[in-house]
């Protein structure tokens, strides 16, 4: 009996080491190849810092590793598209098909919180591996188990998804009143400090809210472009918080996904996801 136990232990240990190695490899490959299963959606301002009186222009982008196709302004594709500064929120206006999608003048100083909430789209999985890769990359392996437990097929199932994107643009000098805040996206990332503050923080606390409540144990992908484009991942704690390392500066895209089963048996879709992104930029610290 003891021999068996030992063998079990060794087997488990080996398996654990293997798993660890394999997962690291999977992650590294994911990072190197940039082949994320799903595409992020984000707001990409021409510049994150703008002087009063200058134009704020931004593209809507869909892609991977901070490289994406731009999308024009199309009213039918969003539920809301707004710019919030202080207590004032205005709808983004433009003509159909315009690009850049956002083109406004920054009249007054202050932090602009630009938010976009897309209409829902459907993704049909024809390939089980696509779902596996997605779940793996986005740190949602529980969904693979849940999928099986629900007795869902390995192909021909669907996910309905909608995107909530947020970008921060600082007009003029940042002051204490320039704070990001919840503006009502279903899944929303909130910067705990102003990344454009005079004293650039070395890390940025963020909080993830789902329907206004903090949501823990959810992966946040951190894409950063400071010449090279990299991806890191962190998970939110029980209070929905996570720290984003900022050293080295660059343009940042944070992305989080809330995936949930569609409960109703008569529903057209099997999964429902809500995406949240947050873009901002940090100037590299001059030493």
């Amino acid at each position: 009996m003891p021999r068996v136990k030992i063998r079990h232990l060794r087997y488990n240990l080996l398996a654990a080491v293997n798993r660890g190695l394999l997962f690291s490899l999977v992650l590294v490959l994911g990072v190197i190849s940039g082949q994320a299963a799903a595409h992020e959606f984000w707001i990409e301002p021409e510049s994150h810092r703008v002087a009063p009186g200058e134009a704020i222009r931004a593209d809507l982008k869909v892609g991977k590793m901070l490289k994406g196709d731009y999308f024009p302004y199309l009213k039918k594709r969003f539920l809301s598209y707004r710019v919030t500064v202080g207590a004032r929120t205005v709808d983004v206006q433009n003509y159909e098909g315009a690009s850049p999608s956002l083109d406004i003048t920054a009249d007054q100083p202050g932090l602009r919180i630009i938010t976009y909430h897309s209409t829902a789209d459907r993704l049909v999985y024809r390939d089980w591996q696509k779902f596996l890769t997605y779940a793996e990359q986005e740190g949602m392996m529980w969904a693979v188990e849940a999928h099986k437990a629900r007795g869902l097929p390995e192909s021909g199932f669907s996910e309905i998804y909608s995107r909530g994107a947020k970008a921060l643009v600082q007009v003029g000098k940042a002051d204490a009143a320039d704070r990001d805040r919840a503006v009502g996206l279903p899944l929303e990332l909130i910067a705990g400090e102003n990344p454009f503050a005079d004293k650039t923080p070395t890390e940025l606390p963020v909080q993830l809210l789902w329907r206004g409540q903090p949501i823990g144990d959810t992966q946040i992908s951190i894409f950063r472009n400071n010449g090279t484009i990299t991806r890191q991942i962190v998970r939110t704690d029980a209070t929905g918080r996570a720290m984003i390392p900022l050293n080295g500066g660059g343009r940042f895209l944070l992305n989080a996904i809330h995936l949930q089963p569609v409960a109703a048996s008569d529903a057209k879709d099997d999964w429902e996801s809500h995406w949240a992104s947050l873009t901002f930029a940090v100037t590299a610290k001059s030493q």
Partner: protein, 387 residues
């Protein structure tokens, strides 16, 4: 690069084989050319750049069109023709152009511009296909078409076969960058789009428009210019004296109007406007002091003409001259101004000159008091424009 390893849940039950499968997926994802490009709608822009003609520019994912990726897919990988799409995306511009040329009849059958119920005959003029570039991104090509535009067309409908996906239709005003209409229609067919004010005017219509604008700028809108001309008339009702002054004035304001419009000379209205008022005072006062055409008078009137021309340029800049009709618009405006000045002189002559210019009391009873009144009004304007 720092990797923060995630705390993965539910991995305990993951098998080694499962992980291996994942690795294979990742490897194949890393090296296979398969792409998923989110499909954005085609953007159709109609330009009415010349009378009788229109141009359509279709900004589109050509690969998606040729591969018949079809509507209703969030991205290209969702289509049953995803492989074909990926192959086309990897083609160099010349090779994709060859594929497009074979597809062109299908495209021409599927799109259309309908003018007052009549389909316009679209001809493909050229196709711009960017280099392969980054295949992780969609490639957007431009197809340009042209068609005849009937002069009386007043309603347009845009048609884009639903099988090609969504499209945005935009109308650009003749020879400008201004988008005057844009819509994202559902179901492949646009609402009727009124073309009034969008299609270009004929050269004759533009000329007539600016002629009227020029005339109206003097009569009835330009009381200061009217008084100046009245001032010129009041010096002497003899034709040759009038002719010298008016010719000098016209020559001068034509020059500065053109230079002002071309942006060569730009002087603030804060300077020009009081000086115009001062010029009225000057001619009126000189009228009271002499009835002779002094040698300096045409020279001074010429200088005042330069000032008035800058004033005209200010007005015409506000109205705007389209680049396509710059010269004809400028000439027409000038002629309009001229006709209005002649109308003022004709009115003065018919009202006063014709009957009284030979009377010995003409100067005492008419020319001097009228000039005094003109000088007073001019002074009042001068003060008003300075403060």
């Amino acid at each position: 690069m720092t990797l923060l390893k995630p705390r993965l849940r539910g991995t305990g039950r993951m098998r080694f084989a499962h992980c291996l499968a994942l690795i294979i997926v990742m490897l194949s994802a890393a090296f296979a050319p398969a792409q998923a490009h989110e499909l954005r709608p085609a953007i159709a822009t109609v330009d009415f750049d010349a009378p009788g003609r229109m141009q359509l520019t279709l900004s589109v994912n050509l690969e998606a069109l040729v591969a018949a990726v079809g509507p209703g897919h969030g991205d290209s990988s969702q289509s049953k023709n995803a492989d074909k799409y990926d192959r086309l995306r990897g083609l160099a511009p010349a090779a994709l152009r060859a594929r497009f040329d074979r597809f062109a009849p299908e495209l021409l059958a599927g799109i259309g511009i309908v003018l007052d119920g009549e389909p316009a005959s679209l001809a493909i003029r050229d196709v711009t296909i960017p280099d392969i570039g980054d295949t992780e991104l969609a490639r957007i090509s431009e197809i340009r078409f042209s068609a005849d535009l009937p002069a009386d067309a007043d309603m347009m409908v845009w048609r884009f076969a639903p099988a090609f996906g969504d499209s945005v239709i935009r109308l650009r005003k003749g020879s400008t960058d201004e988008i005057v209409y844009s819509d994202f229609p559902s179901g492949g067919i646009s609402d009727p789009i009124p073309l009034d004010g969008v299609t270009p005017q004929t050269a004759v219509a533009v000329f007539a428009d600016y002629l009227v604008i020029g005339f109206a700028h003097i009569v009835p809108k330009g009381l200061d210019h009217i008084l100046f001309v009245v001032g010129l008339f009041l010096l002497s009702a003899r034709l040759n004296r009038l002719l010298w002054q008016v010719t000098g004035f016209t020559l001068a304001h034509s020059v500065t109007l053109a230079l002002g419009m071309l942006g060569v000379v730009q002087i603030s209205p804060a300077i020009v406007e009081p000086l115009i008022a001062a010029s009225i005072v000057y001619v009126a006062v000189e009228n009271m002091l002499t009835d002779r055409l002094r040698s300096w008078r045409p020279a001074i009137v010429f200088c005042f003409g330069l000032l008035h021309g800058l004033g005209f340029a200010g007005v015409l800049t506000e109205i705007g001259l389209s680049p396509g009709h710059f010269v004809s618009g400028l000439v027409a405006f000038n002629i309009g101004v001229e006709l209005a000045q002649l109308a003022v002189i004709a009115a003065c002559f018919l009202g006063v000159g014709l009957w009284f210019r030979t009377k010995d009391w003409y100067r005492r009873r008419i020319a001097i008091p009228a000039s005094a009144a003109v000088a007073l009004v001019g002074s009042y304007w001068f003060i008003l424009r300075v403060i």
